[in-house]
Symmetry: D2
Subunit: 290 residues, 4 copies
């Protein structure tokens, strides 16, 4: 084991390095799918494809940026990822449609055949209370993962996570009164075809997907709203399995999806552990790791 082999003096250093260490040849014959940076936080904006609501929001966006490294190249020039992404902020907000040119720029800056970008941020949608009609924004976690391969093929995965309520059908049925309910989180990942990117709206997807809940959650609920929400939950019991299935039925109707993955986790109010269900179809059906 190399651990116990020590030396008493450092390796000699060349007086004047004439070539970046990163650019030197590597002899291990190992290609890397990704080399880059993670958890870079930048203040930026995201623009959504929807004419009905405020469609651009300023927000910190957490980025992962990387390129593919062939076996013979030792390392990526990490500083270029930060330089490039910092410049992007001046030009335009991030959007599902702005990603391809950014990835193309990375492949050029980093002299690589393909590049990947992941962006994480919070997207707010105004939620209107069902009776009082009082409105306030609710934040949803968004993850966009995208890659551009050597043949200029773009792959885009959009992931949305929605808080919601589920009320247990079994508890309702077996109990003389009441039914346990709880906050649950629905996560949907969609593999969106390049030609469909301009049709996808975060706000619209969120509004559509939360109909799978026993009842959506709201920021403001007055007394009359709380009554409505409580009864709505009770009238509409949903197992985690039901939420996943209803989401699948919705997503199957979407044109432009190569595939999708759906998962629901419910923070059971009767247990300290969670119930979950998940499934996937199309291009993502093999992507679930066990």
């Amino acid at each position: 084991m190399t651990l116990l082999t020590t030396t008493s003096s450092p390796k000699p250093k060349p007086l004047m390095p004439t070539m970046d260490v990163q650019a030197r040849p590597d002899e291990r014959q190992v290609a890397l799918t990704h080399a880059g940076i993670q958890k870079l936080l930048l203040p930026w904006a995201f623009k959504d494809n929807t004419p009905l609501v405020v469609s651009e929001q300023q927000t910190p966006i957490q980025l992962a940026l990387s390129v593919t490294l062939p076996p013979e190249i030792k390392g990526a020039h990490m500083s270029r990822f930060v330089r490039d992404s910092n410049q992007w902020r001046d030009n335009a907000p991030l959007s599902l449609q702005s990603l391809k040119p950014l990835l193309a720029q990375l492949t050029q800056s980093l002299q690589s055949s393909s590049a990947q970008l992941t962006a994480r941020f919070t997207w707010f949608v105004d939620k209107i209370a069902p009776v009082s009609q009082l409105s306030a924004p609710l934040g949803y976690e968004i993850v966009i993962r995208t890659s551009l391969d050597a043949s200029q093929q773009l792959t885009t995965h959009l992931t949305l996570t929605l808080p919601m309520a589920t009320l247990c059908p079994c508890s309702k049925e077996i109990s003389d009164y009441g039914a346990h309910n709880q906050r649950a989180y629905l996560t949907v990942r969609m593999d969106i075809a390049e030609e469909a990117l301009h049709t996808v709206s975060l706000t619209q997807l969120i509004n559509e997907l939360e109909t799978t809940a026993s009842c959506p959650v709201f920021p403001i609920l007055k007394r009359e709203d709380e009554k409505w929400v409580t009864e709505r939950q009770y009238d509409n019991p949903q197992f985690v399995e039901d939420v996943v299935r209803d989401a699948v039925v919705l997503l199957r109707q979407h044109k432009g999806l190569n595939g999708f993955y759906v998962s629901v986790e419910a923070l059971e109010s009767i247990h300290a552990h969670n119930a979950f269900a998940q499934t996937a179809e199309g291009s993502l059906s093999e992507a679930i790791l066990l």
Copy 2:
């Protein structure tokens, strides 16, 4: 600003350091309340003061260990914290009563007037389903913070976090049927007098404190249990304010507490945000930071 002051060669190094850097004098006139290590994970055991259940559990314990540093000492000898705590594992399980000699050893090893130890671990209590009587263990997060000061005064803060269910009294009252409920977490911190440490049992405290819930949570619930639990929740609505108050009433009856802090956070099933309430009495009444 020192940032822009650079130098072209490193500071000269003494050929043979004759004194540890940490032991050298410091001239800034700043005493440190804590200098030490955090997030040290060790496999160990904790022993609870209870004759009724399995009272010793093997578990990873995450430790923070530190000493007070007077203004004239530059640094603590960090490796001694690891050496000492690793030796403790051979002698005996950790317990509320074993802490004082460990702290005394740290003050000697580190040549300091006072020492502090924080231990975090999971403690399991068997929970019995209310009807089927099926039993399984449920894990509770425990934090023990303790310090020994220059006059050999021991201070011990025990913190327990309990998952539980709360059902909203308002939702029940205003709704024709149903009532929203959710998982909530009750956190209790107790400042335990030294002479009372031998009377405190984690298992007993957990069993006692979870009666403040609308209904406790259980690992295993068969159909008949789920009916019982659902109806129990509905029969026993509790705001977060009620859980805190019921816990305060319980804790006031405990002898041997110098003070306590109680907090409840409910993961509302009708919102994406949480409801919370908290209060403190006795020695901890000033400890809540805003």
Copy 3:
């Protein structure tokens, strides 16, 4: 134990509740220091007191809002916290000086003698690479905790967390070459007097406090910058104890602070655990819980 007492029918419900459940009297004689909501996320803006850089930033702000509850009041009207805070966003950005009127409004809306607000967000400061002068924003975690008590006394705690590098003085001294270094996090909490709030700038504090590092961290570093930063670290070794002490020396010079707390945690590159040091002075000297 109440756990085993069940009933076969729910408590009778009044046909028409004439008074909110929350407004009813409570007989347990337990005052609550806080009753409110947590983890409410709103898109808003923060405005900093500095003329030198962009001083207002749009960002999601995570809020905790609460009021004190006297023993005789059963619960707080939770929806009012959301309604009020959502309205604030229309009027003005959040700032250290805007907090008092917001708290005053909460005491009125919730009919309480005192109110508390905690705001968490990321504040970006442009960092300029030391040689290339390339600039990019770096995000810092900010927490502002504030309370208004029954005598209209405002308390404001500002907490900043700064990533930075520390290089170990001991490692440098005992080694023939090299010295271990790592990312560390400096956390400073300041209790700011009301009359000094208009003098405090997040950007200025961050720039000032990061001089306590062996070297600050930067988003963009070209080759020439990386050389500078590497050598700067080596020239300026700092234990966690040193960073805390240097921060204390800086903070003692600040007028308008009633007290402060300083903590540093270094993610040691030679261990899997962390080194830490902390201390406090003035009004916060008793606030460190062990």
Copy 4:
């Protein structure tokens, strides 16, 4: 949108449910790959395949347990997962070889064609300081994901995460003295063939994989060890790309792997963001989602 459709009375309930809700037919034609529970924590033990060290450790294990649900079945009987897994604890420690019969039992209990189990826990390995030879345990995060499909085919993914130090080759080369280094985390996921499960030892893999670091991390380091470790880091600079490649070279030599995935994330001491690299081969080469 269904959101605005409310009803004034709950759905009628059958007087005596004669069949579990979960067992009823479902008409949406959506199969679920997983339906089950997550974040169930049980005190258990894990047994490693190694004769050289203490090979069985008591520890809390966090479990996810699930089965595949055909389109026509409404829901899984969630309580059976807890009942079964709680019984397993009495029989034997968990091990890589004990998983298949547990999964087989789940398929029977839940009447499903296939089942999945994920186990997360901390595994401790004694690390010996390089000069003083002082020893203490270091904890590593382990995740075992396994599934048994309808044809009784077992798939087992073992994931290890190792803390380690990396020292930047570029920083060393361009600087007159010093070199930035930091804690990094190497994550390796292995798809282990069923017939090779009895040959795999966590302890052995950890010891082998940490040779890819600039230097491993240790719990206890005396002065002489710290000198050794500091110089070892400096003598052995490694980019994240190098660590991944060295791990790939090691893993290619392992018999019994259908494929593997390797990722390294370094908490750069010169940045607030992280460097990362990753790649995959064999059965896992398609498993990286972008």
